[in-house]
Amino acid sequence: MELDWSLLDWAEIGVATWDTLRMLGWSLFFTVLFGLPLGVLLFLTSRRQLLANGWLNRVLSFVANVLRSVPFLILLVVMIPVTAWLVGTSLGVEGSIPPLVVGATPFFARLVETALREVDRGVIEAVQSLGATRWQIVWKVLLPESRPGLMAAVTVTAITLVSYTAMSGVIGGGGLGDLAIRYGYQRFQTEVMIVTVVILIAMVQALQMAGDWLVARVSRK
């Protein structure tokens, strides 16, 4: 098969890339906004922790597991009415953000919970022995001490979100996924497919490198 690169509409690819970046940025922002407290709560309510509460922990855990076990493509479809009600449309960049956030938040929260578990119990106890409140323990110990783990969690989540944004293109979410589906799949323009895949790979690489750099920067161990 001959590839003809002259047919590529670079302006449209540019717009699609920008859309993907916007989807990624906003959905990552909201995922961290909701996922961080959820992860902290999952951790604190677990056994032998500061707010140990079996009942609440089981409920949160169950919700997180259910959301995580729904395939993202199905979540996208199921969420359409909710999204339309929330942001007025289920299409475009705006329309893709709610399902992305709902899909990624429980995933991120679990990563946060795991990162917090890495904090030495003895350190928490030492700070308790100094008369710290639970709130102070969260802010002054748990979050700062698990910073490298949290940075890694954000990185992994961002990369997961890149592939989710591509999938949301399927239901008209816009961005690079949308482009790949419309041109590459429906009109057999393999060139578009190749370019979008290359851009997505570059994005993931850049995120991973930035994430690794940040983790190394905040590691004091």
Binding site: E125, V127, L130, G131, K140, P144, E145, R220
Partner: protein, 337 residues
Amino acid sequence: MIRLENLQKTFVVDGRAVPALNGISLDVPEGEVFGIIGRSGAGKSTLIRMLNLLERPDSGRIAIDGRDITGLSDAALRGVRQQIGMVFQHFNLLSSRTVAENVRLPLELTASGSRAEQDARVAELLELVGLAAHRDKYPSQLSGGQKQRVGIARALANRPKLLLCDEATSALDPQTTQSILDLIADINRKLNLTVVLITHEMGVIRRIADRVAVIDGGRIVEMGPVAEVFLHPQHAATQSMVAELSHADELADSGLLDSATGAVWRLTFVGATTHEPILFDTASRYGLSFSLLQGTVSRLKDLPYGQLVVEWHGEAARLAEAREGLSARNVVVEVLR
């Protein structure tokens, strides 16, 4: 300062009851260095963690400065904890904070003083523990002894009246242990701070404690001034821990005791007697000859003491006189053979 009454604690592990403390009662007066010693699993950590309620007793009373803390609200308990410093075996420093930031943490928690006042207090504390030059390092860049100094500075930041040390030197080499114990003793004197420390090493007790409680199987089996417990241990657990330090078991192993033909006595003396030529005086006065089988001359905190195992040769009547003469000079004589 501290009064514990009949503390009980049983852990439940996988549905099975693991008794940890079984009726602990003790008093620690202000300004004292009180040691708690016991074998692994004896319940030492459980006990010391109760003094600031990191662990709650199933029953019993814990009074600090005359106030029972077991019934306090969360807020009141935090206030009490701020008055009690604690130092840990594994230091438990925040790895994300520098030395100075670790020491500042307790001040941040209590929001005490302006930023400048906190800085001044941190500088003062780092000076006290000898770490002024390391203020901007991270814990991972410090040696074990230096980490423990940070731990001590952090524990002292809010000017506590009581310092709890949970195996504070167990992760350190002998020299570093000595320097940390010196620091704790120094702080105890300078600040008139009450210190409760737990350890499984008799050497630690010997060097800095005033009184000691020996705990075994969740009970106090022996308690008293260190000189008494250390030099005349009554309970088997105490005896074996003292023996490790004084090499008394080596004597039995060496066979010297069995091959001895004369009378073998263990002589124990403390204070000024330590510096007197007791053996020579006794031998010449009663016409005896002697050989030394084993001996230690050292200190219990500030008190010099000696413990010698001596084999005597001479007439039985003169030996009996010698024994009385030694007792009259405050030398405790135990006849081993």
